[in-house]
Each structure stands twice: as C-alpha cells, then as structure tokens.
C-alpha cells in the first residue's frame, strides 16, 4: 500500500516546520499570559530584552545554552542508535563527582588549563560509567533503557545527596555543598568573547565550557556522519535487522553508544560546577537533562540544530527569569508553563502540522509544475 504522505523538502523539515511550531507555542503561551492579566507583547519584549538585551543577558542565555547543548547531544547520540536515553539528568548529576574529585583534589595545586582537561575526562568517565549499567542491561537482558535510565536518575540523586550531606560537605557548614574550589578549579569566563562584539558582561557565569560544548557538537557530527562507528550506530538505529545482517554486534554498539551519550551528559557538570559556582551544590543539574530531550527533538538530533535549539531554551530560561522579576502576576511557575508549552509544541506535538504543511506544499508544487514531466509512478503497490 502506498505511503499517503511523501517527505517534506529539507528546508521545510528543518526550517519552516520548527518555526511554525515555535510560533504556535508562543501564541498559546501568549494566551496564558493574557489570562493572568498581563500583556503578551510586553512579556515577549521583556523576554527578548532580558535574554539578548545586555552583555549579562547574553552571558546568562549562553550559559544555560551550554548545559542544554551537552544534554541535547547526549540524547541525540543515543537517538541515532534507536535508544531513548532519559538518564541525562542522572548522568550529569553523577558526572559532578568527577568534577568534584579534580576540583577539590587538584584545584589548589594545578592551574586551570591542566585541571580542565582532567575534569573533562573525569566527568565524562563517570557519566559514561553511569550509563554503562543500563546499556549493559539493555544489550544483554533486553531491559528497556527508558525504564532503567529513569530509575538511575533517582539512584544518582540519592547517591549525590548521601555523599554531599555525609562526605563532601565542607566541615563546619550547614549547607549540603562542597567547599569552594581553589583557583585552579575555576574556569575563566568568556567576557572577552562578548567584548569582541561590543557587549559588556559583568556578572554572568558564561565560561569556556561553552566553547567545549561547541567543540563537542562538532565532534558528535564527525562521529555520527564521518566515522565507521557512526555508520554502525546509524545502521543499528534505523534497522537492527540490517545491523545483524551486516555483522554489527548489537551488544557492542549499544554499550559504546550509551557510554558516549553518558559521557556527554557527564561533561555538562563542568559548566555549573567549575564554570559558575566553583563547588558542587545539591541539584545543580536543575532539570537540564530533561530539557536536553526537547532540545534534541527540536534540533532533529543534528548538532547544528541542537546548538540553535539550546540557545532558544537558554533564552527561555534567562528571559523567563526577567519576566518573573518584572511582572508581579507572572511567577516562576508561569515561566515553567511557558517553557512546557514550547516543549509540547516543538517536541511532543512535532508532527501535528506536518500533514497540513505537506498538503499545502504539494498544492503549491502542483500549480507550479503544470504541465508535469513524466515521473515513474512509485505510489502503486
């Protein structure tokens, strides 16, 4: 039987459709703002201004975006293998342990440019190991990775609370957080980078892990589309039967992919810990692992799309905070609702407008292309 819907052209699939989704999301969010008695236009202006209107605004937006790039890449790599890694949250949280070991242990003795690579390795390794167990269970036992990674989020959260309260807490304090790292455990900011484009960043925590995130995005692109391993991952993701036929070991690919995915999530911990707070705090991931799912969906699991989607969500976080600050009727919870709407339309309801858009484009194409040249009919059987 024929496929009733052909495929959208690439520009519509990757450009127009996300844009439509976004516009609808903002429209519905605007109705919510209207409902609580504020002006949606004012709110929109506030949000954009808050996110991009000042050096600090941009700094915060990109700081949040850094987290989302890492977690978005984490989800995307697993997606390409047909795996749904919901464990980014836990893998990032536990990745903080790797950063803590380097920051606490070496932060006072080594300069940042030595501790940074070490912390990258440590956080990535811990994140990868945290993903290894669900991966192994999936590959060997068929335990669904969605279930196990969700469970591992809870386990990670409990372990971190246990360690922070019992072992990592600085002596003589009440707060469940480590002591502040030494100078070598603190990453330099990127004020100079914004300075290049004439922006003045004073207090925003944007730091060089943003650049690391961009490098990671590029490396993920190379991995997925330019290496043999990436070829095997994509084969497995599209068709496990074809992978079996091609002699690709399912166990090996699932384990390796999940570990890469976990490592990317683990590296997210660098940004808030070494880059901003210079210590490990309770719940420093703050939901970025889950936002990563929406970012990966919206970015079509392509690193370039993920970077753009991450910046969009960074804007929602930063601009949303500004709205909550300036509009008394809009609380922080309202911001969460608006973010949720964007995730809903851009992620979950992604396919809602696809058939309609396709029909419109087909009609346009038909009007343009008459009389049509002969095309081999493919829609028959």
């Amino acid at each position: 039987m024929s496929q009733p819907f052909a495929k959208l052209p690439a520009w519509a699939d990757y450009g127009l459709l996300p844009l439509i989704n976004l516009i609808v999301a903002f429209f519905v969010a605007g109705l919510v703002v209207l409902l609580v008695g504020e002006s949606p236009i004012d709110a929109a202006v506030l949000m954009v201004k808050g996110a991009f209107g000042s050096g600090d605004g941009v700094g915060y937006t990109l700081y949040y975006a850094t987290n989302f790039i890492f977690t978005g890449l984490c989800v995307a790599v697993a997606f390409h293998c047909g795996l749904f890694n919901i464990g980014g949250e836990g893998q990032a949280y536990i990745g903080g342990l790797g950063v803590a070991v380097v920051g606490l242990g070496l932060g006072n003795v080594l300069p940042w440019w030595i501790t940074f690579p070490l912390a990258i390795i440590a956080s990535g390794l811990v994140g990868a190991l945290w993903a290894l167990i669900p991966a192994w269970l999936q590959a060997k036992r068929g335990s669904h990775v969605v279930i196990t990674t969700i469970m591992f989020n809870f386990i990670a959260a409990s372990i971190m609370v246990y360690l922070l309260v019992g072992y990592l807490k600085a002596s003589g304090t009440q707060a469940p957080e480590t002591r502040v790292f030494g100078d070598g455990g603190q990453l330099p900011g990127l004020g100079w980078l914004l300075g290049l484009i004439g922006l003045n960043m004073r207090s925003a925590p944007l730091n060089i892990s943003f650049l690391l995130a961009l490098v990671a995005a590029f490396l993920v692109w190379v991995l997925i589309w330019r290496t043999k391993l990436g070829y095997e991952i994509r084969t497995m993701g599209y068709s496990p039967k074809a992978a079996r036929y091609a002699g690709i070991s399912e166990v090996r690919i699932i384990v390796i992919t999940m570990m890469i995915s976990g490592a990317l999530a683990g590296m997210m911990a660098l940004n808030p810990i070494m880059g901003a707070q210079h210590r490990v705090q309770l719940d420093f991931v703050a939901g970025a692992g889950f936002v990563g799912i929406a970012v990966a969906l919206m970015g079509r699991s392509h690193p370039a799309g993920i970077v753009l989607a991450a910046i969009l969500f960074g804007m929602l976080y930063q601009g949303g905070a500004e709205i909550a600050f300036d509009m008394p009727n809009i609380s922080r919870d309202m911001i969460v609702i608006i973010q949720g709407l964007v995730i809903l339309f851009a992620g979950a309801l992604e396919h809602m407008f696809r058939p309609t858009l396709l029909r419109i484009l087909q009609r346009v194409a038909r009007v343009k292309s008459q009389p049509t040249p002969a095309v081999a009919a493919e829609g028959g059987q």
Binding site: T227, A242, Y245, A246, A374, A377, E378, G380, Q381
Partner: protein
C-alpha cells in the same frame, strides 16, 4: 456489449511528485472477470484503493452501474456493493470465522441475535457458492487458502456484487490458486463482477475474460484475454520485448562449496522451523529451494548466512565448519566468501533511510578500502558506488539519493551489486525478484546465471515456482521445515506443487 459494472473516467492521482494514476479510463463489464496487470509500481493498487475509497482521486469520475458515485471511504464502497480482498488479510487471528465475518456489522449491542443471523446467512452463502468453511474454526488454525476464502465470504456477507482481489495468489500453492480460480468462476456464474489484480501473466490467461495492462500509472491497453498472448501482455507491461524464459547452458558442477548437515532451527518461541535439513551446493550450480512462504526457507538461509542460530546440525563452507550454534558472525562469513542477498530487502538488505552510497558498503564497511583509520573514506565509497551504479544500470544514477526513493527493482540491484561485485564463492539469494519489475527480473536472472557460469555455488530461495524452475539446476522442496524432495530442473509444476503442499508427507503418514 454487456452493460458496465464499473466505469472509471479520467481518474488522476498524485502523491507529491509521484503521478500514481494518470487519466485512467477503465470499463469493467458486469458478470465478467477483469484482470488488471502491471509491474510493481504501475499504479494498480492505487487505482483499486481509489475505487475502494481509501484515497480520493484528484480528478475523474467513478460510475457504478452507470450511475456517477462519490466514494469517500470504504464504507461507502461497501454500500455500493464493492468488496475487496486484500493482499494481506484483514482478519482477527484469534476470532472464529463467524466472528470475523460479522465484525463491523454485528447489528446490535448484544451479539446473540446477530450471531444467529450471521450463521444462517453464512450457511446460505456456503451452499450457493460452494465456499465451505467451518464457521466456528479459529482463523489462526486455518490454512492460508481457507483464510482467503473467509475474506471472500466477508465481502459477500456485506452484499458485494463487485469483488476486487489484490494479488490473491501470492501466498497460495499452485493447487490452492487453482481452487481459488474455480471459486471465482463460480462467482462469475452467479452474476458477480470480479476484478483481479496481479502481476502474474499465467493467472490472467487462466481465468480472466478481459485484461487491462497498466504501465507507469496509465492503462496502456485493454484486450479480450482470448485474443491476446502472454508475450504481447509482457511487452505491453514493460514497454519493450522481454525474454520470459531464462537462457542458460548446461551446469558444470564442481567441488562441494556449501554443505548443510542435519540442520535444525527453532524460532524464538521454540517452534521448529527447520527440521533436520541436509543438502549440498556445488561450485557451478544453482540449487533452488521451492516452497510456500513460511515453510522454513527463510530460517534456513538466515541460519546458513550466520544471522540466526541453530539448535543442532553442521554447516560447512569450503569444507570448514561454520559455528552456527553460537554467535556466528555474518561479517566473518563474508570474509570467507559467502555473500547473502536477503529476502527482506527493506529491513535487512538495505537501510532505506541511508543514501545509496552508504548502502553500497553495508556489511563490507570494515574493508580498509572504504576507511581512513576510524573515518569513512566517503569519496572512495562514492566512487565505488558510482561504478556499481553504472555496471548494474541502477536508476536514478545518483549515489546521494535516499535509498527509499529507488524503485523495488533498483533497490534489489543495489543489494546485488554490493554482494556480487565482491566475487564471493557462495551466493545465497532469497526472493531475488520479489517486488521487482519485469525488466529488472530479466537483468537479475542473467546476473545469477553468470555467477553460476563463473563457477560459484548459488543457493536460491523463492516463492515464485516459475523462477525456481527456470533458474535452478537442482530443486529442493521444503514443507513444514523439512526438505521433502529433490527434483531435477525439468520436474513438472504439478509434481513440485504436490510436494510443496506436503501431499507425499501426508500419504506417507497414512
């Protein structure tokens, strides 16, 4: 001229850039069997889907019994007396025949009255058309031929005067197909109108009164079956002359390349799929395995190719044992000169979402030829893909095109080019021409014969008996997982058909 039951006037339908039906005029006379024949992708199924209300035509008019009608969905089609028997049955497996027949027309929230009515009506239909089926049998326990009969009963129960059958014999043995044709004759005698969609010329000649040929979305000719020939129809289908018979010389079998000994394979539920099978394939010969789909052929070749594991038995490649009970590695078998064109082209032989060049190395992606350290050497892969595209005349000749956008025949050529160009010693090939157009069939058959003449061992599995008979040097017949007979290539169709139906098995058991 008899009055028309169906008239299609200027039907036009597009899916995006694909022009599936173009300006189709078709007239089916009442009380006749009308064949519609064409290659895969010619637009036959689309046309019938429009008639049955699955799709709406972009342009054109449908007239049923001379009255213009609008068929917006299958319910409207049923109300107009059109019944459809799909290629893949639409039956609920764990319901009885009766429950399936009355599904959707139960009549009332409580079933009791409906059941009684349906049972009486079913009895009447059975007597009128000699369509015997036990109304209380579970569908899953019925053989395929009877399941198809239930589909026909379903349509008749809904008052069908016009019956459309889409590729009805794909899953039947030759004997079952003959039985189906007798039923169709019976229905015709009762005044029903029948539209038979198929790509098998033999069936058209056997049973139809008129035949329309479709090519590339158009009806290119309509003939009285008695006034046409197989050759003419084939030429109309393809648009040029085709060789229906494969021309090949005498086989010169050499040493044993592949040897299967007492192979037993179970599926994941533990059901025995291959039962103690033994055979050999020599260099320079084609061994064909005939059988109705689902009798263990798939499992057999997948096990030999290292994709499935066996419970017991041995497989020897060039006299060396292949580990088939543990984790056999298809990659290692490839290195040892065993190539495999799988039956399931869409899910196994190709990744449809890949670009063509990416599929041209599937399974051989470990070859240093295509690699630069851990990186793919994309230029080398594309250059290699272009060579194969040219040699195998794969169209469109674009290695960057998504594989899903190639026609079935060209997809199969992509797989064949990949496997044959590695110059393997043993070629296992499953359903080489399923879903492939007639023009490409000729090409594929030639390549297979060439492999044999080059001294390769070829193991062929196909549900098309004609294909097995014309290509094979020796024919094995599988039934219920067992190899129930071996025949020469000149065995008659009837003889093979009996073996395929397990008749000798049953006689031996009695």
């Amino acid at each position: 001229m008899a009055e028309p039951a169906i008239e299609l006037v200027g039907i036009d339908k597009r899916f995006g850039v694909v022009h599936a039906n173009r300006d189709i005029h078709l007239r089916v006379e009442k009380g006749t069997i009308h064949g519609i024949i064409g290659e895969n992708g010619a637009g036959k199924s689309t046309l019938m889907s429009i008639l049955y209300g699955f799709y709406q035509a972009d342009n054109g008019e449908i007239r049923i019994n001379a009255a213009p009608v609008r068929i917006s969905d299958p319910n409207a089609a049923i109300a107009l007396g059109i019944g459809m028997v799909h290629q893949h049955f639409m039956l609920v497996e764990n319901f009885t025949v009766l429950e399936n027949v009355m599904l959707g027309v139960e009549g009332a929230p409580l079933l009791k009255r409906g059941i009684a009515k349906a049972r009486a009506e079913l009895k009447r239909l059975e007597q009128e058309y000699q369509l015997d089926v036990d109304p209380d049998a579970l569908i899953e326990e019925l053989p395929v031929g009877l399941q198809q009969r239930v589909e026909i009963l379903k349509a008749l129960y809904r008052g069908a005067e016009i019956l459309v059958l889409d590729e009805p014999t794909g899953v039947l043995t030759p004997a079952e197909a003959d039985h189906l044709f007798r039923i169709l004759e019976q229905l015709k005698a009762q005044g029903k109108t029948i539209v038979l969609i198929t790509h098998k010329l033999r069936e058209i000649m056997a049973v139809t009164d008129n035949v329309s040929v479709m090519r590339q979305g158009s009806v290119v000719a309509t003939r009285k079956t008695a006034e046409t020939t197989v050759e003419e129809l084939a030429e109309l289908m393809v648009g040029r002359r085709v060789l229906l018979r494969v021309q090949k010389g005498e086989a010169k079998p050499g040493e044993i390349k592949l040897s299967v000994e007492n192979l037993t394979v179970r599926d994941s539920r533990g059901v025995v799929m291959v039962d103690n099978a033994s055979f050999t394939v020599r260099a320079g010969e084609i061994v064909g395995i005939a059988g109705v789909a689902g009798n263990g052929q798939s499992q057999l070749i997948e096990t030999v190719a290292g994709i499935r594991t066996a419970v017991s038995g041995r497989v020897l490649l060039d006299g060396q044992v292949i580990d088939i009970t543990g984790a056999a590695d298809p990659g290692e078998l490839r290195d040892r000169g065993l190539a495999h064109v799988p039956e399931d082209r869409h899910h196994m032989g190709l990744v449809l979402a890949f670009e063509e060049y990416e599929n041209s190395i599937l399974g051989y992606h470990d070859d240093p030829l295509y690699l630069n350290g851990p990186f793919l050497d994309i230029e080398a892969i594309k250059a290699d893909a272009r060579k194969k595209i040219e040699k195998y005349d794969i169209r469109p000749s674009d290695p960057r095109l998504k594989t899903a956008n190639f026609s079935g025949g060209n997809q199969q050529k992509i797989v064949l080019a990949r496997e044959i160009e590695r110059d393997p010693g043993v070629l296992i090939i499953g359903q080489p021409t399923r879903g492939v157009d007639v023009g490409a069939i000729e090409f594929i058959h030639k390549r297979i014969i060439e492999m044999r003449d080059a001294g390769k061992a070829v193991l062929l599995v196909s549900v098309e008996l004609d294909e097995i008979r014309s290509l094979s040097d020796r024919i094995l017949v599988m039934f219920a997982g067992r190899i129930v007979g071996e025949r020469d290539s000149d065995a008659s169709e009837g003889e093979l058909g009996l073996l395929m139906a397990g008749v000798e098995q049953l006689e031996a058991a009695e």
